[in-house]
């Protein structure tokens, strides 16, 4: 793994629900709390909506890390979307790990509309962690179908 | 039936009769008590208000020893020890504390040991046995006095009804006795101040004794050495505070059961009491 990461700026995509985490991130803004620019937020109605394929696509597209965040249990605007999501992630993580995909690069969190500070913290710590892990070249290498030779030999 | 056994200092000193009666009835009920080897004081002193680490480390060592000696369950007759061990067990759920403490005692502890008091032991393993083995029904009207350490804090101990405990009453009924309905079951006997403010102890214990006597109990049944010694040993001082002095004995539930099982007063250490026991 790449260790001289001083200049390495990880690309991170955040998949968040509209009602809690998106609003929480809004609060981060209104409270003028600062965080790293590496993260770009994609807005979903609910964590229940987030398709696991989108996470894989993000990595394939060169993301080095992903944040998935929604309402705390029992706070879901749709009462149980986040519970369904939680199960999906439990399953997904198990599978990815078994396939040797680096699940440390996916940060799951519950951030409520009132937790602006928590959002800033999640982003910053995630950026720091991913910087530590370095770019996800291992995955990106296989992502481009043209250079297959390192696997088809 | 094998259970770990932590007597603690009181049972080895001021309340030997409790120890003797516990051991005696355990034997009579085919419960094998395995005393924890190399056990130490549980720290049931002011320690827990002065030095948290110490107050956790002392019991933690006991628990760790028990675990190391392959025990799964430990019976702790002394209410104070029981309380300290349970509280420690609870506190050690916090990993940081556990690490800190196990580091101090230089022993690992999983936190899975089961800690029970005498009443729980009898409730879980001996009720039927007691029933069938009663030879001399304990046909007396008595006041079951639980004190505080046995059931408080309820959040942690999770034993019996906190405001109106029943376990001892049930056992007394089982051996043919009649528990009175009274209000001082869980009142404080003053043990916490038994050194510094004996006057208060006399007053508090006095209230308890007074009500039990007025409701015409023939004895007070306890499961805590502190309660016992306060109500028994300090009877002189207490009686001075009472308009009409009381001479009812204060005996351990284990002694009462022992009598019902036909064991001799001697085996049960009944002659060790200050207020002599005529039952």
């Amino acid at each position: 793994m790449n260790n001289n990461n001083s200049e390495f700026e990880p690309k991170i995509v955040a998949f968040v629900c509209n009602w809690c985490t998106y609003a929480g991130a809004d609060l981060t803004g209104t409270s003028r709390l600062k965080y790293a620019t590496n993260v770009k937020i994609v807005r979903f109605p609910c964590t229940g909506r987030i398709d696991f394929m989108l996470l894989l696509k993000a990595f394939a597209q060169g993301a080095d890390g992903v944040i998935v965040s929604g309402c705390h249990p029992n706070d879901c605007h749709y009462t149980s979307g986040n519970f369904h999501a939680r199960r999906r992630w439990i399953t997904f993580r198990g599978l990815l790990d078994f396939m040797g995909i680096d699940i440390r690069r996916i940060q799951y969190s519950w951030v409520s509309a009132a937790e602006g500070a928590k959002w800033a913290d999640i982003v910053n710590t995630t950026v720091a962690n991913i910087r530590e892990l370095g770019p996800y070249t291992e995955y990106q290498k296989v992502a481009d179908y043209l250079d297959k030779e390192d696997y088809n030999g | 039936m094998k259970i770990g056994f932590y007597p603690g200092c009181s049972l080895k000193g001021s309340s030997r009769e409790y120890n003797e009666s516990v051991v005696a009835i355990a034997k009579a009920l085919d419960i094998e008590l395995v005393e924890i080897k190399d056990w130490n004081c549980c720290g049931a002193t002011a320690a827990h208000s002065m030095n948290e680490e110490l107050s956790l480390s002392l019991p933690a060592r006991i628990l760790a020893l028990a675990e190391a000696q392959g025990l799964k369950e430990v019976v702790v007759p002394c209410a104070a020890c029981y309380n300290r061990l349970m509280v420690t067990q609870h506190e050690l759920k916090d990993n940081n504390k556990r690490e800190r403490v196990t580091d101090i005692i230089k022993m690992p502890y999983s936190g899975d040991l089961k800690i029970i008091n005498v009443l729980q032991m009898l409730e879980t393993y001996a009720m039927d046995k007691i029933q069938e083995k009663v030879t001399k029904p304990f046909a007396h009207k008595v006041a079951c006095y639980y004190g505080c350490l046995l059931i408080r804090p309820h959040k942690i101990l999770q034993f019996d009804r906190v405001e109106d405990p029943q376990s001892m009453d049930a056992m007394v009924k089982l051996i043919g006795g009649t528990p009175i309905n009274w209000a001082f079951k869980t009142e404080c006997c003053g043990a916490g101040l038994s050194v510094s403010r004996t006057d208060l102890v006399a007053k508090l214990s006095g209230n308890i004794l007074k009500d039990a006597t007025e409701r015409d109990a023939k004895a007070i049944i306890v499961a805590c050495p502190m309660c016992q010694s306060n109500l028994d040993m300090r009877r002189g001082a207490i009686n001075e505070t009472l308009s009409n002095p009381s001479d009812i004995p204060v005996i351990f539930i284990t002694q009462a059961i022992g009598l019902a099982l036909g064991l001799s007063p001697k085996e049960l250490g009944l002659e060790r009491h200050f207020v002599n026991v005529k039952l």
């Binding site: 700026e9 690309k11 995509v13 509209n18 998106y22 609003a23 991130a25 809004d26 609060l27 981060t28 803004g29 209104t30 003028r32 709390l33 600062k34 965080y35 620019t37 770009k40 937020i41 994609v42 807005r43 979903f44 109605p45 609910c46 229940g48 909506r49 987030i50 398709d51 696991f52 989108l54 696509k57 993000a58 597209q61 060169g62 993301a63 605007h77 749709y78 009462t79 149980s80 979307g81 369904h84 999501a85 999906r88 800033a120 | 309820h154 959040k155 009804r161 906190v162 405001e163 109106d164 309905n181 009274w182 209000a183 009500d211 007025e214």
Partner: protein, 666 residues
């Protein structure tokens, strides 16, 4: 080839201070499909909106991205603007350049780059947006009110008075609820029944209200504007059409010693009974559990005495199906009772009673005709102790919350006692006196100062009987800091208010959420206090949390207005951001294979089965179908669907996919 317009807002300095808005606008022009891009100081201002409208017309834009503040703030504004310019509002998206960018980052290239990315992301999304039309659902203009206490009565009357039909169901034989049990009411001390009974009668006589007593909700299906309620009419065993309410039957009934619910167990009633003299309807029902005939197969004395032959022995429960458009839940609360206070000896000592029981003692219609007498021996208590917070605000009792009404009714009780027993001595043990409310504090002061009620701040440790007296052991934490012991003749516990029995099951029947204490949950603690998370179902009164009469009535009227508001439209308009199952040409019809995994996933039971039939009427295949009235658009089903047959408008697979793909690799 799409024609997207991008509008970058400076938000005064808020965005432009850290983001180079002009650069973003310039660069975004280079993105394929972007027809027009411009930055402006205040996009949300009138000139700003005009800018957008003109651009839409001039450049025939088929999509708009506004890069400004959070969509949670101004999405409606800009979508409206687009609509006014003739562009479907759902072809307008917002990039959050303020809350998610300029405000959280320092000035610099990275920040501007991120702003660009956020805009680009939305450009890619909006390219794939589809024009959507708001959903319209018809509304059945008839309301169902569940629970005939003061909340239900008020809500029913208010709705009925707007000219809409109301069905009021009450599980007991009479409406009136807890309020009918009360003696006087704080802070005015006017007689509860005197103010309540007229309204009960009004309900019974109102042309727009259909009242079903002795009835419960059996099941509920459907969605806002279109509910189907099955109502169980429990067998009264008395034909109320024939019954004249003469009362001969219950005078003769041999079963006389049944504890009366209305008198909180202090009085008795017969097996065929009217709960109380002012009951509405004032006609009896037979309590089969206690009736000799139903128990032993003989008796029938009531039948013999009934002049109109109204008794119906083999009457069975009926299920009534009603179509309603809205529901108001007003099922009220309950008070904690026996065995909850071993330390206070409730259930053990006859003269330790609950506040509700005291109400009955103090009530002129009560078992003692309003005289305060001890249940044990009927003597008048000379010393009485009231214990506030009996259970409430007590973690150990599992009730950490404040029951809210106790402070006030305890003061009232003490006052009433002093008014009725002049030489009596009353003491109140309290934690804090919570008398927030118009004239409430004054009322408590009156109890203390004019009626000389002795208020002691401190908890009571226990109550026990000693030679005929109740010894109350407590502590005075305010003045002496000493323990206090009072030898009382009677103790009244201001027991905690708790959710009504069966609240949980009812909530599940209606798919509304509830809190850990089984009180029904409002949609928003501040801004939606009478709504529930299920559209079309509203709350009023103590079923949501303990509350007093004025608050309950206010809430009931509030709920009624919500219903009236709903009924003021002929159809309901909803945002079309909901899931749809695709349909395609035969022979496929839909890629849905009908595994119906989505059905268990949907939090709203919005997924229905649709049978696709051929010309011969034979079912070709069964596929999922989303009920647009029920779907709230969470999209959980979408992420589930293996064949991607179900998709959600506004957050479609194509849109989200495009967003993610656009983000990186450049």
């Amino acid at each position: 080839m799409s024609k997207i317009g991008v509008f970058i807002c400076h938000c005064g300095e808020n965005i432009s201070a850290t983001v180079d808005c002009e650069k973003v606008a310039q660069d975004i022009r280079k993105v394929e499909g972007v027809e027009y891009a411009i930055d402006y100081k205040y996009m949300c201002s009138d000139p700003g909106q005009t800018l957008i409208k003109d651009a839409i017309k001039e450049h025939h834009l088929d999509g708009v991205v506004v890069g400004s503040c959070s969509p949670r703030m101004h999405e409606p504004t800009f979508r409206k603007a687009c609509a006014e310019a003739g562009l479907n509002p759902f072809l307008c998206e917002m990039a959050n350049l303020r809350e998610h960018c300029s405000w959280v980052h320092e000035k610099g290239e990275a920040t501007t780059e991120k702003a660009f990315d956020l805009v680009k992301m939305l450009v890619e999304k909006v390219k794939r947006n589809k024009p959507l039309d708001s959903i319209k659902v018809p509304i059945t203009k008839k309301a169902l009110v569940i629970g005939g206490g003061i909340a239900g009565i008020q809500a029913s009357l208010d709705i009925a008075n707007t000219g809409h039909q109301v069905i009021l169901i009450e599980k007991d034989p009479s409406i009136g609820g807890h309020m009918s049990q009360l003696s006087e009411t704080f802070p005015t001390l006017d007689c509860s029944q005197c103010i309540l009974t007229p309204r009960m009668v009004e309900v019974a006589q109102h042309p727009n209200i259909t009242l079903y007593t002795y009835a419960e909700l059996d099941s509920l299906e459907g969605f806002i504007g279109n509910f189907t309620a099955k109502i169980r009419l429990k067998a009264k065993s008395v034909d109320h059409k024939k019954c004249t309410g003469c009362g001969a039957c219950f005078q003769k009934c041999p079963q006389k010693r049944i504890p009366s619910e209305f008198n909180a167990g202090l009085g008795t009633r017969t097996a065929i009974y009217v709960p109380f003299p002012q009951a509405v309807p004032n006609k009896p029902v037979i309590d089969r559990e206690h009736c000799n005939y139903y128990k032993r197969g003989k008796c029938k004395i009531c039948e013999a005495t009934c002049p109109t032959g109204a008794i119906e022995w083999d009457k069975e429960d009926e299920i009534l199906t009603e179509q309603v458009g809205a529901i108001v839940v007003t099922t009220g609360f309950n008070v904690k009772g026996a065995d909850f206070f071993p330390e206070y000896g409730y259930g053990q000592y006859k003269d330790v009673i609950t506040g509700l029981q005291f109400e009955r003692l103090a009530s002129a219609s009560g078992p003692t005709l309003g005289e305060i007498r001890r249940p044990s021996d009927g003597t008048i208590p000379k010393k009485i102790v009231f214990i506030a917070c009996a259970g409430s605000r007590d973690e150990a009792k599992g009730i950490p919350y404040c029951s809210k009404i106790c402070c006030m009714y305890t003061a009232k009780h003490a006052m009433l006692y002093q008014h009725k027993v002049h030489d009596g001595e009353s003491t109140v043990f309290y934690m804090d006196i919570r008398a927030g409310g118009k004239n409430y504090e004054e009322f408590v002061r009156r109890a203390i100062e004019e009626d000389h009620v002795n208020y002691v701040r401190g908890r009571v440790a226990r109550v026990y009987e000693k030679n005929g007296k109740l010894i109350v052991k407590g502590v005075d934490t305010l003045l002496s800091g000493e323990q206090v012991e009072i030898e009382a003749d009677m103790v009244v516990l201001a027991t905690a208010g708790v959710s009504n029995c069966g609240a949980e099951q009812l909530a599940q029947k209606m798919h509304i959420s509830y809190d850990p204490y089984h009180f029904f949950a409002e949609a928003h603690p501040k801004l939606k206090p009478v709504e529930t998370n299920t559209a079309g179902i509203f709350l009023a009164g103590a079923c949501q949390a303990p509350k007093d009469i004025p608050e309950t009535v206010g809430m009931a009227s509030g709920a009624a207005v919500k219903v009236a508001g709903l009924f003021s439209n002929n159809e309901l308009v909803r945002e079309p951001l909901i899931a749809v199952v695709n349909r395609s040409a035969p022979p496929v019809f839909s890629t849905c294979v009908g595994c119906f995994m989505c059905q268990t996933a949907c939090p709203y039971n919005a997924i229905e089965r649709e049978e696709i039939k051929g010309r011969d009427g034979k079912v070709i295949k069964t596929v999922a179908k989303v009920n647009p009235g029920l779907c709230q658009g969470c999209g959980t089903c979408v992420a589930f669907c293996r064949s991607k047959s179900i998709d959600i408008q506004g957050y479609s697979n194509e849109q989200m996919f495009a967003e993610v793909m656009s983000l990186l690799n450049h």
